[in-house]
Amino acid sequence: MHSTDLDFAERADLALENQFLRKAVRFTVDRLRNGKAAGSAALGDFESWRERGRAIRAHTIANLDRYLEQFCDNLERAGGHVHFAADAAEASEICVRIAKDRQAKLAVKSKSMVSEEIELNRHFEAAGIEALETDLGEWIVQLAHEAPAHIILPCIHKSRGEIRALFERHAGAELAEDTATLAGYARKTLRQRFLEADIGISGCNFAIADTGSITMFTNEGNGRLVTTLPRTHIALMGMERIVPSFADLAVMAELLPRSATGQKLTTYLNVISGPRRANEADGPDELHVVIVDNGRSNQLGDPDFQAILHCIRCGACLNVCPVYRQIGGHAYGSVYPGPIGAVLSPLFQPEQELATELADASSLCGACHEACPVKIPIHDMLVKLRERNARPGRKSRTERLMMELSASVLSSPAAFARAGRVARLLQRWTIFDGSRMTFLARRIPVVKNWLGTRRLPPPPKRAFRDLWPDLEREVKS
């Protein structure tokens, strides 16, 4: 889904034509954002919690080197292995090498957006190792050969009917369309695979510096099986995914589930501090934590973008985004969709076309910032990205010319007044009451795009500035 010849507008148009997708996305984001509203209200003064969350994330990221080092030391002391990956390719290489060294044939995965970011499944496949998604939503998109369409609900765009069809194809048999049957089929099928797996691959919601622990907030229980049954556990984490201590995790545990789904807490909260010890019955023999940079450290010290590293991947900004709501995740063409994806993708992959087009995929309504549990000013970052994109050579010459010309007119009140008079005359000649498009108006892209679905108000005879002398006299008389 990531490599495509279509631009964002074209991908969005395709999504807009898919009424099933739009209905499914709207239904689910409404459920999630209503859940968040109720869940955050139940916490009392949610604003003060947001501020605590922001302060913890800001402090941690400002001291990331220190906390990363502390985390690594403590993890190694607990018997874990630490690997640093500078980019996506290196991260996948490390995972593949660990798997190959152990003659692994099957890796079971719990949900990890970093594994999507580094395209781990593709690399495992190339190495002849099966990588099986065990999160229900991730398994569904894997069966459909798609990418996740949402960072916490990968199959948000799929209807129950589509999921049933995928499962029936996999089962080679007919299945009833109720949730219990479909989830039951997944459970039965996947359960056997957990037992066969050589490697378990998980993500990491937060790593705790002062204990060297990794944590996972999950709802399905597959995360526990992935991290305990196979002999080797590989945890993938973005290098920013750290909190200093359990006390800080307690704050994040209030913010993350409530912002994601509205839950007080996810069904499971796993805290893993090293591999199985000699006196323990369960757990893997080996624990490897792969810490992925992949563009993150470039944001450190950048006053405009460092705060993007505060993100806790709750998906709240997707659920309130009016653009995401209409088109879903795949139209973004990036691993991370929605407002957060529009900021993350260009930062991680600055050389790609996505870098310019996704910054425009927003009406700058600010709903993302309002919803963010750690107060990341995403809409301001989108403007900053547009500023980068507007540098000479990166925008069409027509757009630059239009912007320069309009700035000249608008910065001179006299020119502005004259231009207004001309524009009103033109509008009267070409569009009249705004209900029909004349030959001429159809040739002007801006006008055409507006009038495609809307009318223009009829032009006034005079501007306010021309009415003012009369208004001024009104009061004196």
Binding site: D13, E370, P413, P457, F464, W468
Partner: protein, 268 residues
């Protein structure tokens, strides 16, 4: 500081008599915005009349044009600064500056500090301007302390809270408090009112299909209320939603809050 306003700032928001006499008028300089100036001058006229009824002395400086937001939001920062500078020049005094747009007011409050961050003198002027600038409903309720302006409008209305006004500027229930005191006005609640209407300035012409899908959903919620008037505090949003609805056969009328508050008074 607000000498002469005690007449209006009755704690219970009691009705203010039109043409009440004050000892010293509050001076208001009107920031009309480029859109109201050129496309909706009647909104400016209503603002002037409402403010004068409340005893304000209203001025209008012809040296104003636009706040620079279209350029700023498109990433053309030097161009935005150039336009914004002309606004600093136009409002260099110490009057209150009142505008019919929460979005343009938010541009001054939220974006001017970064836009002018590199020049201390300009930054000070920008901060002074932002400090004196209010969106219309905020000015009436929070500065003048008025909720009932004595308006009458026998219509059924629905209010759309615009994104920049509410999220960036912090407009809360001020428009609703003002509307709830309009005699004869039936105000109906709007589902998903917090969702963007799809305007977004240049967004609506850069991504017309996505914008139209957003507008269409907003329009369906407005239609569902059965209201015949759509009220707002930002003309871009009103022009967008009403323009979409009228293109689809609706008879809905868009009114800026100022026009509603100017209703039911004998015109001069």
């Amino acid at each position: 500081m607000w000498i002469g306003l005690s007449t209006f700032a009755a704690p219970d928001g009691a009705r203010v008599e039109p043409n009440a006499i004050t000892t010293r008028a509050v001076r208001v300089s009107l920031f009309i915005t480029c859109l109201a100036d050129q496309v909706f001058p009647e909104v400016g006229v209503s603002m002037v009349r409402v403010l004068r009824r409340l005893g304000c002395e209203v001025r209008f400086n012809q040296q104003q044009s636009c706040c620079g937001q279209p350029h700023h939001n498109a990433g053309f920062t030097p161009e935005a600064r150039r336009v914004a500078r002309s606004l600093l020049d136009a409002f260099d005094g110490d009057d209150h500056v009142v505008t019919p747009s929460g979005s343009c007011a938010a541009m001054l409050h939220h974006s001017y500090p970064t836009l002018f961050a590199e020049d201390a003198e300009e930054l000070a002027r920008a901060q002074s301007l932002a400090g004196r600038t209010s969106e219309f409903s905020q000015f009436l309720v929070n500065v003048l302390g008025v909720e009932d302006v004595g308006a009458t409008l026998e219509r059924t209305a629905v209010y759309h809270p615009s994104c920049h006004g509410t999220r960036l500027l912090g407009v809360g229930n001020e428009p609703l408090r003002l509307l709830s005191r309009v005699r004869g006005l039936e105000l109906r609640p709007l589902a998903n009112s917090q969702d963007c209407c799809g305007f977004g300035g240049l967004f609506c012409v850069k991504l017309p299909a996505v914008s139209a899908a957003m507008t269409s959903e907003k329009a369906s919620h407005v239609s569902a209320t059965g209201a015949d008037v759509l009220v707002g505090t930002d003309l871009g949003c009103l022009m967008n939603v009403a323009g979409h609805m009228r293109a689809n056969g609706s008879k809905i009328e868009a009114m800026h809050l100022a026009q509603v508050l100017d209703s039911g008074h004998a015109q001069h």
